[in-house]
């Protein structure tokens, strides 16, 4: 009598080794991998639109208050920002190396690269923490104690930046980098889980889909920072 157990038997009966990672509603492992991949890319699309609203707000205010934004931008540390950019780029490399490692059955390298990725992520967050602390000390955190008096507009040493407009810059700075940092934290969580799975030997050259889609997420977080760095830190750095 056809029912769920019969259906499960039919899936099992489709010959050969049945990978326990194959979920019952998929016909083949390839279909499952393609579905997971497409699902992650679509999710990244939603993330692009999520950050996109912030980029839109940033665009409008930067054009409106270019001088004030330039002054505010000059006060954040571009060297730290640039270093963080390099850190994330290295972490993206270690991610692809981890995947290459599992594809070529190099288990130790895979685990090493996963750990390296996470270490780079922690370094990124550490540097971010230093930056935030600096901003807090300088009273550049929006709110009651915000202060941005007598800061000249780059290129116009006789004009001071409007503190209210600078506060909008910092509001966007904290929200955008804060949201990005939150995504990094989630990324670290994902990679902790991937590391655990890798340690337990769940990944093979044939099956390592979670690594691939976790990697996609991590690269996306890198791409967001690739845009945040020049837009926030490098508005006007003319000496």
């Amino acid at each position: 009598m056809p029912d769920s157990t019969a259906a499960a038997v039919q899936v099992e009966a489709h010959g050969g080794a049945h990978n326990p990672a194959l979920l019952h509603h998929f016909a083949t492992e390839e279909q499952q991998r393609d579905a997971s991949n497409l699902g992650m890319w679509i999710f990244l699309g939603t993330e692009v639109m999520f950050f996109g609203g912030l980029f839109c707000a940033y665009l409008i205010y930067r054009l409106k208050y270019f001088g004030d934004f330039g002054a505010a931008s000059k006060s954040i540390d571009a060297l730290l920002g640039g270093t963080n950019t390099a850190v994330l780029i290295c972490s993206s490399l270690t991610v692809v190396l981890a995947i290459w490692a599992v594809q070529t059955s190099r288990r130790v390298l895979m685990i090493a690269m996963l750990i390296a990725t996470m270490l780079f992520g922690l370094v990124f967050l550490g540097i971010k923490g230093i930056e935030y602390r600096d901003k807090f000390v300088e009273h550049h955190v929006p709110g009651a104690s915000f202060s941005f008096e007598h800061v000249p507009i780059p290129g116009h040493p006789d004009q001071f930046a409007n503190p209210r407009h600078a506060e909008i810059f910092f509001a966007l700075y904290f929200i955008m980098t804060g949201l990005h940092a939150l995504h990094m934290v989630v990324g670290l969580g994902i990679f902790t889980w991937l590391l655990t799975m890798a340690w337990k030997g769940r990944f093979t050259p044939e099956y390592h889909t979670p690594l691939e889609i976790g990697g996609l997420y991590w690269h996306f977080v890198d791409i967001i920072w690739i845009y945040l760095f020049p837009l926030l830190y490098l508005i006007d750095r003319h000496p």
Partner: protein, 101 residues
């Protein structure tokens, strides 16, 4: 997406990965230096061009978009970016023309 084994590629992907990594670091250095030059309105254009190139490198090579078996994934990316551009462009249609009236 059939990135099963390395043997499907004619040369080792390692070369590509390290080349892209190098290009990304170079791009970062370039954008940092370019910000110090006074190019007027072109500062933004240069910065965004470098950033977009870096993003494309990550997407095409690290995220394997280049070798995607179907056009579908590229369509997802292009569609998303299209609507993001619409959001910004049509909003700017308002902001840029307010002073006209």
């Amino acid at each position: 997406m059939t990135e099963h084994t390395v043997s499907e590629h004619s040369k080792s992907p390692l070369t590509t990965y390290f080349a892209v990594w190098g290009a990304l670091l170079l791009g970062t250095f370039l954008t940092y230096q370019a910000a110090k030059l006074d190019l007027g309105a072109f500062n933004a254009a240069v910065a965004l061009t470098i950033a977009t190139t870096k993003a494309l490198l990550v997407a095409l090579f690290f995220m394997h978009l280049r070798h995607a078996s179907e056009k579908l994934l590229k369509l997802v990316v292009i569609t998303t970016l299209f609507f993001l551009v619409i959001l910004m462009a049509l909003s700017m249609a308002d902001y840029a023309t307010r002073a006209w009236s």
